[in-house]
Point group: C2
Chain length 688, copies 2
């Protein structure tokens, strides 16, 4: 046994890399299994093809723009004469960006193909439909963790000379990988978020409200764009977001291990431990996927929970083994303490998810209350939705505080990073559970558009409803991990900013730090304002176009002439690409400009953006989710049901909530991580 | 000349006290002049009496509750055995509370009597109507500065033995006065804000929207409550808010002077300088009031501006004289530097006011844009209103940053406090300009209810319209001064928290401080959630009552039977009193609980609450103001005018904006000041 653990600990890089390759192989295998399924009749395939092409067109346009951005930034880093930047960091940056883009593309590619097969399977029954849609989610999940961990393992091996040269410089080069991932994440989240909500609002306002045709009606020209949006926003965007958190938490832990245990002979163990936890998390996630099976509607939720719980238990067990038996840790730290820290991270993630569920699910007190307030009109619906979102900030942030406290108590700042790694260790399956929702949603849309029998739509709706609940948990993980990752990166920044051996002191009483805090606090507000307006503007264009088509295309309302769906896709695409640039540049330029002025102001700014960003992100995500389900609660027949005045008021809330929960809110997760990574990467420049 | 300045500097306490007495005498004189005016016919007097009695009833109930609170807290402080607390602090606390309450009561008492006389004067012309309503505002302004400065002068004289015993302990006892003022401010703002918006929303939703009767219609039972609300919210509440800032900035400057110049023989000059600046500000304000005269509508805005500008110029001149000629300052500081600092404060206040005007006035780009977005419905109106509010956070906070930078550059943390003192030095007139608006508003309501000729209402509307613009500037001062005052108090807290001579270091990198920042960030969200919900709940009760009266009182819609207005006042009163308690207790309990755990966490918490609170306060105030005027812009005949779909959408935004701008937003100003004062007062307990 001891020889085995010794073998493990000395070859952990190969094992992490192997786990990553296994995840990729698993994703590819799942993809081919999905593709072998029946893709339905010609009509279904034709509609599906429109969605596939729309999504591919958008991602291609987006990635083409991003390629220019990546090349320019990589060149700037590569040719920089500043110590600590240079060609190695540039290569890692470009690779991180490419890996994240690849994962997003593959996940989206699979999702658009899995949807139509899920619809076809739903003609037979629920079990097959679940299998296909969940497989598609798993492709996304495994692609993310596989490509992320593979990239990190390779760069760790190459840049540290197989672990022989672990120091702030080599680890700093690896952080470039995280920066690349963050850049893609920002533009994917913002661009995807604008695309999907512009299409959604545009389709709803003209189709449902003005023309009075149902959701997903094939006569509505924006329906295809709406379905494309689910894929580019909720699949590719969410994937890029968590890719970034996953990579960010691991590099933050590695960096802090170097600073914390710099003089210890066993420092290397602490540095590679996050890679090991992530690798074993992949094994656990793959095993978990085999338990996601349900025969009927009742068993759906349980099936998904079962998979996640089994994976989590296995990951916790593996963590105990790794920290207590496999690695010989630095003298100042104990295995059990690291174990507690990682478990704290996993528990915090689940707890935040459960709170999110409480504030946003259909059958809970806050959501029912918003539904009730819709009876007195849209204004009271909005007031109570906003109040609910604000209230919902408290519990998750307190849990994050508790997580910081526990992690720090047991293992210092290194512990905070490790808690984030723990929270994300089962990302392979948890992202899968999250990313299956949009596939089920799209499958339902296809059933509607292809006019399949009612029971098909009912089955996909059952899948979708469970998907909404699991999505809440996924959002909890996304926000919780973003906060902890950003904090860990921030700690790495402060440690790295030491000039004479003592880490940077950011005393709030100094005017520079308080000015930084205030400037940092502005950014999430300005950023949210820009993204909300972007959705509003793009939706406005979409509304005009749909109205034009209804007016100018003869036979469109009778269903004899098909609408021009491609044009709506193009409007969303153009709107998203044009309007993602300014917020993106602000996120990258702000820390650089402030950093060149003063590292202390920058430190304050990062902290201010972190605090305000986390609050606003939770507020917006939960208010949006609550409005969405308050509307659904009324549609289920309460307070007058569909078509009542209360329902009309709830639709207003739902529409306001759209950019809140799917564009501005999630984009803040990335803003706070990206600004910290940018600061960390360019720190040598600021200090020089 | 030199003998004169020497006389001045050695007797400054008497001069400050004299200025304060002069302000009070001026207010009383103005009151009697107002009361001598014609109060109109019997019908007008009868309506006015209802408003007077309603306001008095509410304030009496509120103050009765507050008296219990003040006695309990004063006893706790007075009987405390902790060094630094005790009977002297308790007396100052009770006096501060009493002085603030008195100023609020007198201002409200005058406003409710001035309104009917303004209406009567408006029958003749604009000039007289302006004279009366502005006089009423001046009564509020002068009462606030007079009672505040009188109290501070008396306690300074008594507790420092006429200036002979200036040290952290004696100044700490004076801070009790500030704590008392803050407590009243919180409950007045929150209670008054809930009262006024519950009545406003209730009256609008049933009266205007459901029954289709105009605003201020005498048949609407909630109209009287709505008018009462203007007085208790916008007059008494606003007065208490600025009373607190005024006192807080002065005691913060005094405290920081003691810490900063502790060893210097001329420390006393730096300690009494804020009192001197405030005293000469009163002289300047009184002179300024004589220039507020207008013959016609065109000259209105100019008249108010002229008064403020003359007062500001005089105050700046006096400041130059005081800092450069009168006082012999500590060696480490130069008179001109202090002069620059104070001017920076005055300029920052005006600049923030102008930005507020840009974001919220009827004819500006952001407001027109929201009006335009109302064409596509309530949802886009709300989305763009929220986006505008978020965007509007940037410029004012950057100005605050600039103010901090300049003040700190010239005079350290003492300078930051002095900038706040400068900003508020002309409060006597600037609050007057602000508090005349609600009087004009009420006068218009009376004209409507008493069915006076159309031109009367037109004249009061002209007054009211200008009042809305000046109110924007007033809000800018309120937020800007709250931020600077809270910061100055925070600096005093950190200086006071030194245990071994070195001030408290609040390094963001320590987990305690980051946890504090996060907890502090939660509080403004939870606080806003509570106050928004409180308005929603009280408005819900009001809606039910108004509907009941319309249904059950025969002849009410025909105008033959009067509605039961007193019951609506009671509903608002009960709702406000019941629902102000929880937010109030949180504001006081949170810093005490956290302070007993750790002073470092508390420091972080205060900073977190400050940063998030300032942002949220600006966001909410400006979004609310913009929605309000977007509606008015449509009512002026744009985008379809009154009754159009765009107008209906804009009414939704306006209603959401009501608690934003008049309850939750302004209450945050007080939250951040109060929590810092509580921390400062109880610091000896935390350290013991």
């Amino acid at each position: 046994m001891q020889t085995f653990t010794l073998f493990l600990s000395s070859n952990i890089i190969w094992i992490a890399g192997g786990a990553a390759l296994l995840a990729i192989a698993f994703a590819v295998l799942k993809y081919f299994l999905i593709m072998k399924e029946n893709a339905g009749d010609e009509k279904m395939q034709a509609i599906s093809k429109q969605v596939q092409e729309g999504a591919a067109t958008f991602l291609n346009s987006e990635y083409r723009w991003l390629a220019v951005f990546v090349v320019v930034v990589a060149a700037a880093i590569g040719f920089s004469k500043v110590d600590g930047l240079g060609i190695k960091t540039a290569i890692a940056f470009a690779s991180g960006a490419t890996a994240s883009a690849l994962a997003g593309y593959f996940g989206m590619h699979t999702a658009t193909r899995a949807a139509v097969r899920t619809t076809q399977a739903a003609r037979k029954g629920l079990a097959d439909a679940l299998a296909i849609s969940f497989s598609s989610g798993a492709v996304m999940g495994m692609s993310v963790v596989g490509l992320a961990l593979l990239g990190l393992s390779i760069f760790f091996f190459l840049y540290t000379d197989g672990g022989a040269a672990i120091n702030p410089t080599t680890i700093g080069q690896i952080i470039g990988f995280s920066f690349g991932a963050s850049s893609i994440a920002l533009f994917s989240r913002v661009g995807g978020g604008i695309f999907t909500k512009a299409a959604d609002i545009g389709a709803d306002l003209v189709g449902k409200v003005e023309a009075g045709i149902p959701e997903d009606d094939p006569r509505n020209p924006a329906t295809i764009a709406d379905n494309v949006g689910d894929n580019v926003g909720d699949v590719a965007g969410m994937g890029a977001d968590l890719f970034e958190s996953y990579v960010g938490s691991i590099v933050a832990a590695m960096t802090l291990a170097v600073f914390t245990f710099g003089g210890d002979v066993n420092m290397k163990s602490a540095v590679v431990l996050p890679l090991a936890v992530a690798g074993f998390g992949i094994f656990a996630s793959i095993i978990g996927t085999f338990f996601v099976k349900a025969k009927n509607e009742k068993g759906l939720h349980a099936a998904l929970n079962r998979g996640l719980i089994i994976a989590s238990v296995l990951a916790i067990g593996a963590t105990w083994w790794l920290t207590n038996k496999v690695f010989t840790l630095p003298a100042s730290i104990e295995g059990m303490n690291l174990f507690y820290t990682i478990v704290a991270g996993i528990v915090a993630g689940v707890a935040i998810g459960k709170i999110t569920e409480y504030y946003t699910s259909t059958d809970t007190r806050p959501v029912k209350n918003i539904a009730k307030q819709s009876e007195t009109g849209a204004a009271t619906n909005i007031i109570h939705g906003l109040a609910t979102g604000m209230e919902s900030v408290a519990a998750p942030v307190l849990i994050i505080c508790l997580g910081i406290f526990v992690a720090n108590h047991f293992a210092g700042v290194y512990g905070v990073a490790l808690a984030a790694v723990g929270m994300l260790s089962t990302l392979g399956i948890s992202l899968g559970i999250d990313a299956y929702g949009p596939v089920a949603d799209n499958a339902g849309g296809l059933a509607e558009m292809a006019k399949l029998p009612k029971e098909v739509r009912e089955r996909t709706d059952a899948l979708d409803a469970v998907g909404n609940t699991t999505a809440a948990i996924g959002k909890g993980f996304a926000i919780g991990s973003a906060a902890l990752t950003a904090l860990a990166l921030f700690a790495a920044f402060s440690q790295g900013a030491s000039l004479d051996g003592t880490p940077l002191i950011l005393d709030i009483n100094t005017p520079k730090v308080i000015i930084g805090l205030l400037i940092g606090g502005i950014l999430p507000f300005v950023f949210s304002s820009l993204t909300m307006r972007a959705v509003g503007n793009a939706a406005f264009e979409m509304v005009k176009e749909v109205r034009r088509q209804f007016r100018e295309i003869p036979g469109i309302m009778e269903g004899t002439t098909p609408p021009d769906a491609a044009r709506c896709v193009k409007i969303s695409t153009d709107g998203a690409l044009k309007q993602m640039i300014l917020p993106g540049l602000i996120a990258i330029a702000a820390p650089i400009l402030i950093g060149l002025w003063s590292v202390q102001v920058l430190g304050g700014m990062l902290a201010g953006a972190l605090v305000v960003g986390v609050m606003l992100a939770i507020f917006m995500a939960n208010a949006g989710g609550a409005w969405d389900n308050a509307k659904k609660y009324i549609e289920n027949g309460n307070f007058g049901g569909k078509g009542s005045d209360a329902h009309k008021a709830a639709v207003v809330g739902d529409t306001v909530g759209d950019p809140f929960k799917d564009t501005s809110g999630p984009a803040l997760n990335i803003l706070i991580k990206l600004m910290t990574v940018v600061s960390l990467v360019f720190l040598p420049w600021f200090l020089s």
